[in-house]
Symmetry: C2
Subunit: 213 residues, 2 copies
Amino acid sequence: MITVYGYSVSGNCHKVRLLLEQLGRAYRWIEVDSSRGETRTPEFLARNPNGKVPVLERDDGRILTESNAMLYWLAEDTPYFVGDAWQRAQTLSWMFFEQYSHEPCVAVARFVCGWTPLDSPRRAELPRLRERGHQALAVMERHLRAHAWFSGADYGIADIALFAYTDVADHGGIALDTYPAIRAWLARVRATPRFVPMPPPPAEAAARIAQSA
Amino acid sequence: MITVYGYSVSGNCHKVRLLLEQLGRAYRWIEVDSSRGETRTPEFLARNPNGKVPVLERDDGRILTESNAMLYWLAEDTPYFVGDAWQRAQTLSWMFFEQYSHEPCVAVARFVCGWTPLDSPRRAELPRLRERGHQALAVMERHLRAHAWFSGADYGIADIALFAYTDVADHGGIALDTYPAIRAWLARVRATPRFVPMPPPPAEAAARIAQSA
């Protein structure tokens, strides 16, 4: 049995849940609210010294960190990570793009809008985060004009990685109106077998998001 | 034959050169100075719409972006990426850590010190970049107290990925004095067969780095 320590409304955590559900794998989920400092306790830092969720733990205590490394491990020898070495490298390329060029703007804009006070100085970062978020979305849109998926011929782990925060980009004030190919791809992802949506943000975060447009 | 479009003093680009040299692979290197806008030309953006070096191109025109995806592809079936799926996931975990928690502080601090004017407003970011850089280095130090490498039992692509910017952390004003395990690991990497160092920054950048302590 696999145990995942995760914050259910974090896209990085939801990626892992989505793949586990689609694989039909049994797992235990332990909720860790990173927004309330629960990833900074000595107990949590013993599992991941980098202080981030998700953390994947096996029954023998072995631990894996980094959401996209978990997708890689879970998808090995499944239809969610296929192709020759070149195709797999392309899939991983999109996953590195996600962590370097997409998540630090699209996810962070969402975090600032929903999980910081309305008068937080961090809100000054929002224009730049949104500008860079749109740059990442433009790269995705361009790819999706010619390809159905990010993981090769079929849906796979690069799609799962990129779906998580793209689907809630509007929470950070990043509208998808001008990206028809992305919106069609999001719909295709939602239609995959055993898809599960990420839960909505908690009420306090949802209220802040509504006031952060 | 492989062609790499890269900026020789960029750690992300040097990663790819280092592995190609250690593998003894023939390659063509086309210098692209990202600090002078050469990654923003229409010709370059046609190769990588994300406007970043390195870019790897095969003779048939097929392209791969993202330095760590290149390491993965080049190292497949070589001693630089070994182990079972779990070990490979651990190696990739360090490579995702590098791109998310290390490069955006350690490499960006170096860029701000060497490649922005001495009166750039971006220099206000330095204290925070250095603080977060030290957090990433502390995670590495902790690992290296118990392990010789980041890629499993032997040197491999996670070491190459993390070496690139750690070895020049001082360019960004991030001193390694308090990380004895990291310094010993850097020395071990430099002693690997066919190791090649990254060239020093150009004179103008070196002068700014000297004035940015």
